[in-house]
């Protein structure tokens, strides 16, 4: 991170600033909202929307050169926070400011077309990320090479295993020369060799990208990869600091919770 320019007050410039962010989903009970359901509900005088408070009054600033790890239990709002920073989910209140182009590798993967080959999907993924056609074509070969899928790269993606799809998705996300990289549980399906390669690539990106966000349940990799960590619980920012401290506090919290429930069981 030595290559970063440092402003006069000794601090690097901001990459992301989140100010008093709250996100409340209004979502429907039904998985598929239909006209019939709406009519039935209307007849009964019910409203179908339910509010889900995914993020509650979270504020933080991330300076360039930071690799920020985000930890927390399932449903803590980690993925929601990432989507909001990527500009996919609108804030309910508060604001998010981002300096730079974000490349995301979020939970659920990229919406690739299973009938197309890996190579075609790489081009589609690059264009979706906002690159121009020329830039994508320049990089497609490099990305394809990097996946180490051999002849499979020209086969339809429906023939891929989940690990092979993950390789393509990961390499698209990391080769787009992002200013801000957001990675959400990306490395859960890769094999040992690919995971090692991916870790090396992320370490390289950490030094060249302006900021990196890593959501992971692998607390080891948070400690290893990140220079700072944040812990979210039920949409609230519980703690922020050095990765080892945050991980320890989180572990302690999880154990305490476990003990409490164990006591209830008795």
């Amino acid at each position: 991170m030595s290559s970063l320019s440092v402003s006069s007050n000794g601090e690097t410039p901001l990459a992301v600033k989140v100010d008093d962010l709250s996100i409340t989903y209004r979502t429907t009970f039904e998985r598929k909202p239909t006209l019939r359901q709406a009519l039935v509900r209307f007849g009964r005088g019910q409203r179908a929307v339910r509010e889900v408070e995914a993020i509650k009054n979270v504020s933080f600033e991330v300076r360039t050169g930071t690799a920020m790890g985000i930890i927390g239990s399932n449903g803590a709002g980690k993925s929601t926070l990432m989507r909001a920073m990527a500009g996919i989910l609108p804030p309910t209140s508060g604001s998010i400011e981002v300096w730079g182009r974000a490349s995301t590798l979020l939970a659920l993967g990229v919406g690739f077309n299973k009938n197309l080959s890996g190579r075609e999907n790489i081009i589609l993924g690059g264009l979706a990320a906002g690159l121009s056609r020329n830039e994508v074509e320049e990089r497609a070969e490099e990305v394809a090479e990097w996946t180490e899928l051999g002849d499979f790269i020209d086969m339809p993606m429906r023939t891929y295993s989940s690990g092979m799809s993950a390789r393509v998705e990961f390499s698209v996300a990391v080769h787009m020369k992002p200013d801000i990289l957001m990675i959400d549980e990306a490395l859960s399906t890769g094999d040992a060799h690919f995971r090692e390669k991916a870790n090396a690539k992320m370490a390289e990106l950490r030094d060249s990208a302006r900021a990196m966000f890593l959501v992971s349940h692998g607390l080891g990799s948070i400690k290893e990869m990140c220079s700072e960590a944040m812990w979210l619980d039920k949409g609230k920012l519980m703690m922020r600091g050095k990765p080892s401290d945050v991980v320890n506090a989180y572990m302690k919290f999880v154990k305490v919770k476990k003990r409490e429930t164990a006591m209830e069981d008795l």
């Binding site: 290559s3 970063l4 320019s5 440092v6 402003s7 690097t12 410039p13 901001l14 989903y25 209004r26 979502t27 429907t28 598929k32 909202p33 239909t34 006209l35 019939r36 709406a38 360039t64 989507r83 909001a84 990527a86 996919i88 989910l89 609108p90 804030p91 309910t92 209140s93 508060g94 604001s95 998010i96 400011e97 981002v98 300096w99 730079g100 182009r101 974000a102 995301t104 979020l106 659920l108 993967g109 990229v110 919406g111 690739f112 077309n113 009938n115 197309l116 081009i123 589609l124 264009l127 979706a128 906002g130 121009s132 056609r133 830039e135 339809p156 020369k177 200013d179 060249s208 302006r210």
Partner: protein, 297 residues
């Protein structure tokens, strides 16, 4: 607010990606600033084109005839309607067959745009949840697909034209492009509108094929504009003429087949309908698009 000083990072980067500043505030419904929105939309047009190309490539990969279906499909459709009309009218009229194919092919352009545009957003699942881009690209990409499915029907039509309407060739035919353009713009607006409606009411895509079918019967395809004059009273004719497709398909076929100049009403009404549909459809879609990610979860 501007980027703080020294936001440049000390590494080689393309100039067009110099510090981009995003500010995301709480406007979930309501319109984002439109000029940057459409600038970004235009900048990403290659993505919409690739998405459409990809869906066309993957659509017929598992069929025997593959891409030949792009020609086979309209031909079979024309044959079905020809048999239907011959049976109903009890007369064989090859010139009418040319009229029928021209109308059907043009109408299908709009029909396909609507039906595939409607499901385009709801079926784009992960892409929409994980990648930020102007969502309007999704229904527009569906319209592009519909247009590229329409293109191979043009030579098919001109083969029929050359066989059945040998005497009708004139420079006026190029003016039909005006009506074609109106239909494309009209289709874009409707695709965007129904794509947004579909997010809230998933039944839309089930109703639409019937709606489109009825609309086709109400448009001058199985009949010609001159057939209705004198057969109906004034108000009913006005009602028939209010149908947007009356002007668009009517003007298109008159120029290409009758060597006639459409009435000024047709020229104006086609453009007005196209603009109204595009403005309402686009604005409705854009005002809702920030909520799609939540609604699709």
């Amino acid at each position: 607010m501007t980027a703080p000083n020294g936001a440049r990072v000390g590494r080689a980067r393309q100039t067009e990606f110099e510090p981009i500043y995003h500010h995301y505030g709480p406007h979930r419904a309501g319109l984002p600033p439109l000029i940057p929105y459409f600038r970004e939309l235009w900048r990403r047009r290659a993505f919409a084109a690739e998405m459409s190309r990809a869906s066309m490539r993957s659509a017929n990969t598992s069929t025997f005839f593959g891409q030949a279906w792009l020609i086979l499909n309209p031909l079979l459709l024309a044959a079905v309607y020809y048999i239907l009309v011959t049976i109903i009218r009890r007369q064989n009229d090859p010139a009418f067959f040319a009229h029928l194919t021209l109308g059907i092919f043009a109408f299908q352009l709009v029909g396909h745009s609507i039906t595939s545009g409607a499901t385009s957003v709801t079926s784009s699942g992960k892409l929409l949840l994980n990648t930020p881009f102007p969502r309007l690209l999704i229904p527009l990409s569906a319209v592009r697909t519909a247009f590229f499915r329409f293109l191979p029907t043009v030579p098919v039509y001109f083969v029929f034209h050359a066989i059945f309407l040998t005497h009708v060739w004139s420079a006026k035919m190029f003016l039909a492009l005006y009506f074609l353009a109106c239909m494309v713009v009209f289709a874009m607006g409707l695709a965007a509108f129904f794509a947004a409606v579909q997010v809230y009411f998933r039944d839309t895509s089930s109703f639409l094929p019937f709606f489109v079918r009825i609309w086709m019967y109400l448009s001058p395809i199985l009949w010609a504009p001159e057939h209705i004059m004198g057969r109906f009273s004034g108000p009913i004719i006005t009602l028939i003429q209010l149908n947007p497709m009356y002007s668009m398909v009517g003007g298109y076929t008159e120029l290409l087949q009758n060597d006639a100049f459409p009435t000024p009403f047709m020229w104006i009404s086609a453009a007005v309908w196209a603009l109204v549909a595009a403005v309402i459809g686009f604005l409705f879609f854009i005002s809702r698009e920030r909520e799609f990610a939540v609604r699709l979860v």
